[in-house]
Amino acid sequence: MFTKVSRKQHVARGFKVAVAALAAVGLVSGCAAAEAGTDNSKTFDWQAYKGEELNLLLNQHPLAETLKANLPEFEALTGIKVNIETLPEGDYMTKITTELQSGTGSYDMFMTASPMNFQYAAPGWIEDLQPWVDDATQTSPDWDFADFYPALISASRWDKTDFGGAGQGGLWSLPANEEGYALFYRKDILEAAGIAVPNTHDELIAAAKKLNGTKFEGKTISGFVARGDKTFPTLNPFSTFAGAYGAKDIVDGKAAVNSPEGITAVTKWAELMKSAPKAASTYTWYEAMQDFIAGNSAFFIDADHMAPGFEAEDSPIKGKVGYALPPEGPNGRSSSLWVWSFGMNSASKHKGATWQLMQWATSKETLTKAIGLGNMNPTRVSVANSPEMVEATSTWGDYNTTWQNILADYAAWPYSPSATWTEVGDIWATAIQAVITGQSGVKEALDKAADKIDAAIK
């Protein structure tokens, strides 16, 4: 039987319902008003997202340092508060992947590059930026999208076709820092030994072998140094060998790392690595760079934009480094292209504010200022030709012409666009490491890698 509700309880209940209904209406109309507010601004306004707070996850890299240093300017301009978290590269790659995958939007903006874009765009974890670029109410009229190097914008596009469609489709990130891969050599060591700057791979291998273990200014030097770590970034300096010999990772949906060209490329690379310190087989770019800066090596192949580190005031090798194009092979010269860029989390709850930060961080002014703090190479044509860039590199020999040469003629992302590419890259890099540490013969390691890659991409 129904419990008797007294008249008092009935009124109280009705009152509560009315209040709830009023509150709900108030909330909805409040939301509508706010929505209408932002829609009404037909022109771009730096203050449109004032009061919002953004969280960034960045790789420990000069790009992140320059962003941090210039941040107060952005906060004053827009009234948006920005929190930055940085991590060393290995840990950064893992954390950003887990964060994006979780879909919680805990970070709004992050650093990314081509193969990472492939991994994140396919499942929809990152935001396509083209609609934002095209939206005049969200993009500052002075931003000048056309000023970016076309090659770098193209490198940030992918239409999500597995193993195809790179260079077209959605824009997944904004380039802020470019690196091609160059051959660094110690001018003083080569001069003392009477060795010419090597032009081909065989010349480089011979020169490194000749210099390996010799004494220079009281220090025993190694002929060569490079990354040997078993993760995919090692394939970047390796690209100067891979592409030059015509080696490819995947052809027609099947692994091609054990093709005759692939075997030749790894054999030559392993030959060169014999003139590197034994520990180099586990070096990441950081350890390799430190080794070269400490003056322990005659040759080094890695990202050309490490120059600021070589030419810093307190660098032992300041003024002694020569910058050359990557060696020439049967297929010409080859260089990978790594473009550290800014990407937007598709789960971000502050996309408008994030887009403002992204524009500002890649604007002409900010990128020009970033040169002085070591952020190179510039991704905008105007910034690359700016007096600031010329001045910053004035004492660095032919650095300025070399990197522009590499970008103009050789640098490209040489590997297949695919959501699983990072795993493919890890497998290939591990096989190369097995060869360098002497644990495996070249053909054996690459055949095994080819099987694993086929299993990973099927």
């Binding site: 992947t97 034994k278 586990t282 959501a419 699983t420 540490t437």
Partner: protein
Amino acid sequence: MKHSKYLPYLLSAPGLVLLLAILYPFLTGAWWSFNSYRLNRGEAKFNWGENYLTLVTSGEGIHALFITLVYTISTVGIETLLGIAIAMLLNRGSYGAFFRLLIVLPLLLPPVVATLMWKVMLTQNGLVNFLLESVGLPTSLWFNGPDTALASVILIDVWIFTPFVILLAQAGLRSVPTELRDASAMDGAGPIINFFSVTLPLLRPVLVVIIIFRGIDSLKMFDIIYTSTKGGPVDATTNFHVLAYLDGIRSLNFGMAMASLMVLWALTNFVSSRLLKIRRSEALN
């Protein structure tokens, strides 16, 4: 005493909730291990245990099993022997609270911090090699050499966890009544017979506890290995746990990662149940 007939249920409810909270991720993981599940490739597809087959056919699982067992047996063996030996030495005098604190220090550090410390010292041109060279001893590649990486990682584990064994062994030794040892000494038993026939049998219960703790910990060791070598060079230090991490978090292949972890779980379960059985029979004696 009068109490609500729901009291037993209320009292055991938190435990049940905790059990469900543990069972849910475990059963989900077990389910995923039977699926082809890559995080950025869409939904999980049932694959009839193909992941387990791949572990065997690709050789990765066999290799991980080998590394796991070598690591566990080495660390447990060395730590137990070293720990008991040091505990016996400490037992001979009153070394006081100061030494006890000193001995325990490696254990107080988080394993990752200790490993990073050693990683810096064990580089090719690092501190340890420099000291070895200055006394004319051969240097080593430590974490960077394919032949020396596993030994180096075992060394770190021994450095960190031997104090744990020492603490337990000290407690165990103190429970051995001195009258027994004095009595057997009076009967003409030398120190060696004394140790093997008197002390050791009485230490057995503590020994089993030591092996249970260190054994299970070593079977699933991750921090030390990943921090120092990330499982490398190539796969010289990749045990099941590291393999699962590389598959799951680096390659986003959750199906394979769960398969590795389920194998690890089965292994750990087997080892611990054997050891607990021994312990129970000890207790009964």
